[in-house]
């Protein structure tokens, strides 16, 4: 199963959309700068910055990585932490 379009065809189709999305991001970040006060230490903004850095990586799992970046951590010991009986052995 793969994408039936070439990379060039994808770019032809999505170039204006990509340009518009980058511009929206730029304008949002400018707006943050123009607002009174500072949010540089806000963890949400730190995540946004980390997300922007992920976009520049050369691999095809950017969407998955961005999703994980904005996710709470999973702890395999959650059942015990909740005081729930463990799953049946071998289950």
């Amino acid at each position: 199963m793969s994408l039936p379009m070439t990379a060039a065809q994808v770019l032809d189709r999505e170039y204006l959309e990509l340009r518009a999305k980058v511009l929206e991001l730029a304008a949002s970040l400018d707006r943050l700068d123009r607002g009174d006060g500072s949010v540089v230490d806000d963890p949400r903004l730190r995540k946004v910055r980390a997300g922007l850095e992920l976009l520049l990586r050369d691999d095809a799992s950017r969407a998955e990585r961005i999703q994980l970046l904005f996710s709470r951590d999973y702890d395999a010991g959650w059942r015990q932490a909740f005081g729930l009986p463990p799953a049946e052995p071998g289950g």
């Binding site: 969407a63 996710s71 395999a76 729930l84 799953a87 071998g90």
Partner: protein, 271 residues
Amino acid sequence: MDYIDPHIHMVSRTTDDYETLAKMGCVALSEPAFWAGFDRGSAESFRDYFRQLTEFEPKRAAQFGIQHFTWLCINAKEAENVSLSREVIAMIPEFLAAPNVLGIGEIGLNKNTRNESIIFLEHLDLAVKHSQQILIHTPHLEDKYQGTRMILDMLCGDSRIERHRVLVDHVEEHTVRPVLEAGFWAGMTLYPVTKCTPQRAADIIEMYGPERLMANSAGDWGPSKPTAVPDLILELRRRGHSESLIRRVVYDNPLEFFRQSRQFAFTPRSG
């Protein structure tokens, strides 16, 4: 193209929406029980809701040639109230023989709490005891990854669960792989803002293939688009995918999954 929406909340949509869905090619849909936008006051309120899902909605859908199926449970948000949840779970068997009931759903987690987990496990037990299929809601946004992993832990921790009879819904880029790899069905929800767009759903189909993968609109009382599945059909067509691939995701797969429910009686459109 005829299609099936496996997850849509028609009680909160208008009769005009049924007409639009029919015009777009929707021939069947399944409606999991969920939250009403506010917490219900009593188990009797759920009894009325289950009557609406099993008696009234099928008739409303039939006016437009759409076959209506449903799933019953108390949703994850209200599951925080354990005593109410237990009353509702005790009442569900009264409705399991209704002709349009496919199973237990949409059970799941919302904020990934202890109470939600307890009620999730009790729903699993109910489903197993009555040999029901299961439809699962996974949480949104930052809670999705953690909640999906917890749900998979609970499902895989119970050897009585038949994985090919469980649909895990609202999967996205970071949760689809563990769901499919564990042998469950996965549903992608096309929803404005908080979930997946038709473009990203098409990407996921390209990356994972169509096996055990479906798409739904989850149309409800919030900002949502009941005709989102046709949007995905159009996106896949624009990318040059075959009609047989598209049909598999939006028609054949839901049928294959639903057919495992004893009560599923579907009449395809003639011709």
